[in-house]
């Protein structure tokens, strides 16, 4: 089922552009200037590398969210109802959606990282691997977010709502602009927003700085909130349809 589902996803041009091409394009636009390439950060990285990791997180996030949010469209189309006339268990359906979200997320991270490596981003070897893996794994929180929103919002184009929401959350969580550049009040608030933890953890192998405990707590709590919300809506959904 997964190969078929992947093929369908790739047929959707919007998904391809937003999750695979846009993060890499953002990096080329905002992160690869010559200043960023010469300014050093951490142990063996440059600022371009720092921006690249943030963009990889952003891409993984978008991919995971849109993967989870597929349930919205499939419910609207009556497809989930059709699947209930097959031996597929509702829980397996959710499992498949999460696996799909994570596969697309992995591709998105690889595309962004490859683009960065070819255009001047520098990271120490352990950070290339560590940042990419962490960006990918932590995006699981957004697979849960996408599922929750997919069940909550009846819209067929749920990503048109979630895309801007993710952009705002990314600003709020210090993914596009480091939080300490925005004043201390803002920096405090940022710690409570869902993108903050993922960004901090993913960049840790490069900067080796910041409070990992706060970031981990952030990721765990938000994952619990979104997964709990998704489970709640999911139960209501299967009871009713």
């Amino acid at each position: 089922m997964i190969p078929l589902e992947l093929r369908r996803l790739m047929r959707n041009k919007r998904t391809v552009i937003f999750t695979l091409i846009m993060p890499a394009a953002f990096f080329l636009l905002f992160g690869s200037s010559s200043d960023y390439r010469t300014e050093r950060i951490g142990d063996g990285g440059n600022v371009a590398g720092y921006v690249l990791v943030s963009m990889a997180v952003y891409g993984a996030m978008l991919a995971a969210t849109s993967g989870g949010a597929m349930v919205s469209l499939e419910r609207a189309a009556g497809w989930s109802r059709q699947l209930r006339l097959t031996p597929l268990k509702p829980a397996s359906y959710i499992g498949i959606k999460i696996v799909l979200a994570m596969i697309v997320g992995a591709v998105s991270v690889i595309v962004a990282m490859t683009t960065g490596a070819l255009t001047g981003a520098e990271l120490p070897l352990h950070a290339w691997i560590g940042c990419a893996l962490l960006a990918w794994v932590c995006s699981l929180v957004f697979a849960a977010f996408g599922l929750f929103m997919g069940y909550l919002l009846p819209s067929e184009n749920v990503m048109q709502i979630l895309g801007p929401v993710l952009a705002v959350l990314s600003f709020a969580g210090g993914l596009f602009v480091p939080v300490d550049q925005l004043g201390s009040t803002f920096a405090t608030i940022a710690q409570f927003t869902p993108v903050y933890g993922v960004g901090e953890i993913a960049r840790y192998p490069l900067v080796q700085d910041g409070n990992l405990w706060v970031a981990s707590a952030n990721v765990i709590i938000w994952t619990a909130v979104f997964a709990g919300g998704a489970a709640w809506r999911f139960r209501r959904d299967t009871a009713r349809v």
Binding site: M1, L4, R11, E74, R81, Q82, R84, L85, L88
Partner: protein
């Protein structure tokens, strides 16, 4: 009835089934048994409870009280075993898949071999558009795709919920040709419809449903008999039903106040008798077609 027929579980068994949604009672004490191999039409107006009944047969809804059995199993078990499948009225398709991919996905879920996909497409008459995106298919083609999906588990019971709604005449004909060809192999078919001609042409048995209850149940020919003949209405104060029934050609008679209703085939003779031998006046002759029988049986009281 033979012993094997007695011991075999009915294809469908509804026992005093009630389904309420809040204060609304959609199905109100439905009893129905369908034998394996029957082709049954569920006929009734919108809101009669046809779709709710089908949802319960498919395990998509649980009855509030009463019991639903499909080949002796709880509906969700029957679905998982591939004993029952359905062609729904609308929806249930993703437009980014091709026709072939959609059927292949269902095949994967039922653990059927790749060859079953081609066979289902062939039987549903859409092998020629296998590579087309679902979003680019016509309504009739999408309906035959739903049919192909329903055929995949090779179900013993096939349920169709108003399957030809929105199809043109040609599409409807092609669709029913495919269904009939398939039913010839002994599959039990239950279809909901409000097209009378469909119930008449394709069902062995017609079950009239009104307000969540079965109000009439018979073979298609019994339904046709119900529809045969005409009715003479006349004003005839003080008439006795027993006297009226003795009039030549009258098959049944009814008295409602000063009006009499006489049903029969030779309504000319009945009218002649009323006008020449009785003080009857204000005669009206109307035909009782299937439409009228349908309306009488299924219309809500005003």
């Amino acid at each position: 009835m033979t012993t094997t027929a007695l011991s075999a579980a009915p294809a469908v068994h509804l026992d005093a089934v009630v389904k309420r949604f809040g204060t609304v009672t959609a199905v109100d004490g439905m009893d129905l048994r369908i034998r394996p191999g029957e082709v049954v039409a569920l006929l009734g107006p919108n809101g009669a409870g046809k779709t709710t009944t089908i949802d319960m047969l498919l395990g998509l809804a649980e009855p509030t009280t009463g019991q639903v059995r499909v080949y002796g199993h709880a509906p969700h078990e029957a679905v998982a075993k591939g004993l029952v499948s359905a062609v729904m009225q609308t929806g249930g398709l993703l437009k980014d898949y091709t026709v072939e991919e959609t059927v292949r996905l269902i095949a994967v879920l039922f653990r059927k071999p790749r060859s079953a996909v081609g066979e289902a497409l062939e039987r549903a008459g859409i092998a020629d558009i296998a590579g087309r995106l679902v979003g680019k298919c016509s309504g009739g083609q999408q309906q035959r795709l739903r049919f192909a999906m329903a055929l995949l588990p090779d179900p013993k019971l096939l349920i169709l919920d108003e399957p030809t709604t929105g199809m043109d005449v040609g599409g409807r004909h092609d669709f029913w040709t495919a269904i009939r060809q398939d039913a010839r192999d002994g599959r039990t078919v239950v279809f909901a419809t409000h097209y009378l001609e469909e119930a008449d042409a394709y069902a062995d048995r017609v079950v009239f449903v009104r307000r969540g209850r079965v109000v009439a149940d018979g073979t298609a020919s019994e339904v046709k008999a119900l529809a045969a003949g005409r009715t003479v209405r006349a004003t005839l104060p003080g008439a006795q039903p027993a006297d009226l029934s003795r009039i030549e050609g009258v098959e049944s008679a009814e008295v409602r106040g000063d009006s009499v209703y006489l049903h029969g085939r030779d309504t000319d003779a009945i009218a002649r008798h009323l006008l020449t031998r009785t003080p009857a006046r204000d005669l009206e002759i109307t035909s009782r077609n299937l439409e009228e029988a349908f309306l009488t049986l299924t219309a809500d009281e005003k």
